[in-house]
């Protein structure tokens, strides 16, 4: 019998095995990195129909988040303001600015501005804004420093692990209730989450649930 298979084929199973493992590992690594919200969502920065700058309004002018998102402490949903809210100021300020044309149009024609949604929890997640912002959790914990963003982007992953991190150790994220809407708040130097943070948790009887029923119904 002649040699049908060349000699190198003896090593073929090994090559296939090793190659397969390497390829598999690459795919696993790729999936765990690229398929998670950390990759797919963080940095998402769509172009909005109106070039609204949170940096100018909330940052430089210091308008409170709740001036526009006024239902955030009452509902699960943090509302998007209607053009009416914009026009409270812009009927006098920059009243003829061409950049505000679509707002004025929306106001007069009563047609809402179609903003592009950035932050979204899946339908099976029942996230509630009011219970967080009324209990020492600042906007900045999930949305980042929106007051410094010219164009809003998705800054945290908002994956389930992201939620659970905070629900497992709330003392690291709570702040005094009157600083919730102050996105520039920095803990004082002597602030130790284990002491001050935990103190707040105990004082306010914060019982963050890690159970499924906390968010899924």
């Amino acid at each position: 019998m002649s040699n049908i298979f060349p000699k190198w084929t003896n090593r073929l199973p090994l090559i296939l095995l090793v190659g397969g493992l390497v390829a598999g590992a690459c795919v696993v690594a790729g999936v765990t990195y690229y398929f998670t919200p950390k990759y797919t969502r963080v940095g998402y920065q769509p172009v909005q129909p109106v070039a609204f700058s949170h940096d100018v309004h909330a940052g430089q002018m210091g308008i409170d988040c709740r001036y526009c998102h006024n239902d955030v402490d009452k509902s699960w949903f943090s509302n998007i303001p209607s053009a009416e809210t914009c026009m409270k100021c812009h009927s006098t300020v920059l009243a003829d600015d061409p950049r505000l044309e679509s707002i004025r149009k929306s106001f007069t024609e009563n047609k809402p501005v179609p903003w592009v949604q950035i932050h979204k929890t899946p339908d099976y997640v029942y996230f509630n804004h009011s219970v967080h912002v009324n209990r020492g959790v600042s906007c900045v914990e999930c949305h980042g420093k929106v007051n410094e963003m010219k164009v809003v982007q998705h800054s945290k992953s908002m994956s389930m692990a992201f939620c659970l991190d905070c629900h497992r150790s709330p003392h690291e994220s709570v702040r005094p209730q009157d600083e919730v809407f102050n996105l520039n708040w920095e803990p004082p130097v002597e602030w130790d989450p284990e002491r001050e943070g935990q103190g707040l948790v105990d004082q306010m009887k914060i019982r963050t649930s890690e159970s499924c029923s906390a968010c899924h119904r």
């Binding site: 795919v27 209607s82 053009a83 009416e84 903003w115 209990r135 800054s155 019982r207 029923s213």
Partner: protein, 1073 residues
Amino acid sequence: MGNAAETQYWRSIGESVGEMEHADWADREFPEGAQELSDDFSRRDFLKLMGASAGLAGAGMLGVGCRRPEEIIVPFGTEQKPGQDYVHGVPMQFATAMPTRTGATPLLAVSNEGRPTKVEGNAKVSGRSATDIFAQASVLNLYDPDRARVFTLNDSPMSGGKVDAIKKLKELIGKKTAILMPASTSPSRARLIEAIGDQATFYVHEAADFGVHARGAKAAFGQDVTPYWHLDKAEVILSLDCDFLGTEEDSARFSGDFAQGRKVAKQTDGMNRLYSVEAILTQTGANADHRLRTRASAIPAAAAFIANALGKSYTVPKGSLSEKQEKWLTAAAADLEAHKGKSLVVAGYRQPEAVHHLAHLINDALGNNGETVTFLKTPANEFGSLADLASDLGKFDQVINLGCNPVYDGGTDVDGKAIVEKTTFRLVDYTEDESHGKTGVCAPRAHYLESWGDARTSDGTIVPVQPLIAPLFGAMSELEVLAVLADSESPRTAHEVVQATFDGENWERYLHDGFKQDSGYQAVSVSIANTEVTVSPAQADGLEAVFTLDYSVGDGSYANNGWCQELPDPITKITWDNVLMVSRQTAEQTGLENGKLATLTVGQHTVKGAVWVQPGQAEGTVGVTLGYGRSGKLRIANFEYQGQAKDIQVGGYNAYAVRGSSAVNVAQNASLDNTGEDYPLSSTQEHWSMEGRPIVREATLTEFKKDADFVNHMGLGAHARNEGPIYQHPYKERPRLASDMHQWAMSIDLSACTGCNACVIACQSENNIPIVGKDQVAKGREMHWLRIDRYYTGRDHNPKASAGLIKDEGQNGDDVQHTETWIDDPQVVNQPMACQHCENAPCESVCPVNATVHDDEGLNVMVYNRCVGTRYCSNNCAWKVRRFNFFDYNKRPINDLYGSSSMLKPSILTDWLTSREKSNRREDEWDLVKLAKNPDVSVRMRGVMEKCTYCVQRIESTKILKKAAAGAGDDVQVVDKDGLQTACQQVCPAQAISFGNLQEEGSEINREKANPRNYETLDFLDNRTRTTYLAKLRNPNKAMPDAYQKPFSTTEYHPEDAHGDDRGHDDHKEGGH
């Protein structure tokens, strides 16, 4: 990105942004999970790995970095914001009312983003948040895909819709008009009718006539009054064919009042006693302490006999009552006499005026009038009936029909077709129903949740009917039609009419509270004006047909409501159909069996229906249920499942086809003939007996007084518990998990529960539970999270001796149970059964993917996203309360669950990829399906398990409200006064269900659990259920010929000492569990 210290060096991008995982790597050398692999490789981790490997397979197909599709978020426009109170995402409640035949159910309707999704009773008006099943189910009627959608003229759509219809209506004025309308208590309607005056003649039609209560009172007292029963004040109640816990109007109030006298907490507490005389087993009879079954035509004689026992002298027709029955009635009368002023005799709508008259005379003799029954001055009925219209028809040029369906429910001797031919304008629920005419205007009738109106409750309180949504299909209400007829020049809107009717001070307050203060009917004192009563004799032999309203679909107006159709009848447990109910002996004589088709003949009319051998049915009677057998384009009422035999009738039989106007309630000389054909029935509970097992524990009041701890001397509980639980306790394993603030639990009082089914529908409405169709119910696939188990127990029935399922395993007990004699006079028990929320939960232990787990507050939660549908949990559940989505009941039409040709189109795949939300339902139907959903509850997809969640959405929203209100404070524990109620608890007319926080000291639930009657079902399993039951108590009278010392269920359990009093020593003999 992030707030990483940029001055530092970093080894990877992950480290630079300070990811948690990376910190783990650095700290632990091995990542999380690696540790678990070595010592305790949990199922979940294994599945995770398996899932990841499976994910690899498809990974190559997809580009890296795919993002979710762009979505638009739209704020309210300036004018779209409906008032300043509206906060998007917070459900609103509006006070309104559902008009009923003789009153109204005051409601608080819940609106989510402008959609009414759920109704609750308005406790401000009635004192209770309860409603009956019809109020709960009425929400689905609003979103019925078969509802009339277009205005038509001579069967073709009108381009102008409502405007054209009103124009047409104005043209009709001036002719000789008859107006046919359903019963109503609306003051606005009465005002408009007065304004129309002689321009039209009015006729009122209802298939079931409850006016007999007022007519009976008029006969007795000579005044226009309606009796108003106070069952909470009555210690002894005798029902003369009066189903006040079921088909009588206002049954929710009666159930609540009646249950007041059944909730025994201490040994010193008293308890009411209910005697029932009836032909068919009703809810009231099922809850009676003593029940006498007799022909319906013998009840006048029975009433006269009672009256005579109390000193009157009426002629009791000879042969109407047997000697045994007379003994029973004598003893019952003696008991009534012993409770003068604290007893009550009530007569049902099915009985003739004479029985009502006699009941008033008896109550008068007992001194009950003014005590347990008061009399309200009600307006006299001034309208003719449908039969009157049929005979007057020649006098009129036209008929305007405001919502009646005379062809369907008019009965045999009303020529409905003639009325239809003369109809020029009609308000319809369903365009092509039985009374559909080819001529005239046909306008969609507005639902009460989309139109203005008003009504009066049974005590006369004026309540507003407020719309929550603009008419979905531009419908019209009867007030709008009458307003045009009253003032065609400038007709007022229904809103203006209702506001003009209101003569109180504060219109806003009226709408806010949902009632007008002190507007009830005046209570008047009455005295007997007429003692002359003619007592009709009972039919001596042969068969008598007893017509009854259906518990689920009423008179047929709810026949196209899927929730109602799939609701098991509280007595027969049959869904989707009505049956001809006969007793065991009658069935034997006629050679009939369960599910055989038989022809019922009454006079010259016949109808074919399926036979059901009904325990407790009187001999020689056949129970005939109204409300089914609808024709016309009603897809739910005429539901045909896939693969159904072509020639079989659907949707039950039409009892109106044999119901003549001379005998609307009881028809003599009926006959029943076996056709030999079989008819498929879908029953949710085939087996009738508890087989001697203490699932429902009960005792008599006397027993309870002797031994308050009786519940703990039943079953194997005490023995098995010593061996310890089989399943692990989540909090023992992980003590940190248990919340010290909230631990939820439920208690159900079986003594109070009447089995009315309201909780089942409320649960369905609250939790987005789909219907599955008749064929799926037959396969045991109904989705109700909460069911009511109904068991029969028989005197001296020894399940071990009979051919029951337990004794001979080869023999099917279900096949022979209807031939056994013990079912003739059964006792009935009802048990609401839902997930028991075990602490040592068997389901949790067997789930391979941790899809059912325990939460920190004692709930056994179901994680739909994790569920892969192994159904192990359901198999291991001893209560069989888990429900599996065999199909996507929401997205697929229920008559096409298995898929038809449309499922095979290649577009299905592309649709799925591009628009996964898309359903196989018709586009317009799909919108309506979505509108009816509660947004706080996930809609489940095919392949996942689901079950009772203790209304976790309500728990969480109450907790959130409390926390948000607490702010930086610490008042975050949910307590009783925060008003947290589960849907079933809130709706329960009998207030049998308690739910609350075990961690709150002195809470209602803790009080209920401390009740000596508290027990766990299947306690020998030691699963520590969070739902416990309060044992049922019965209050028999020793002097009765059918007295019993123990409920039949316990004599079944201890057959050897059926009449003895010692108990509890022979638990060891019971091994057959």
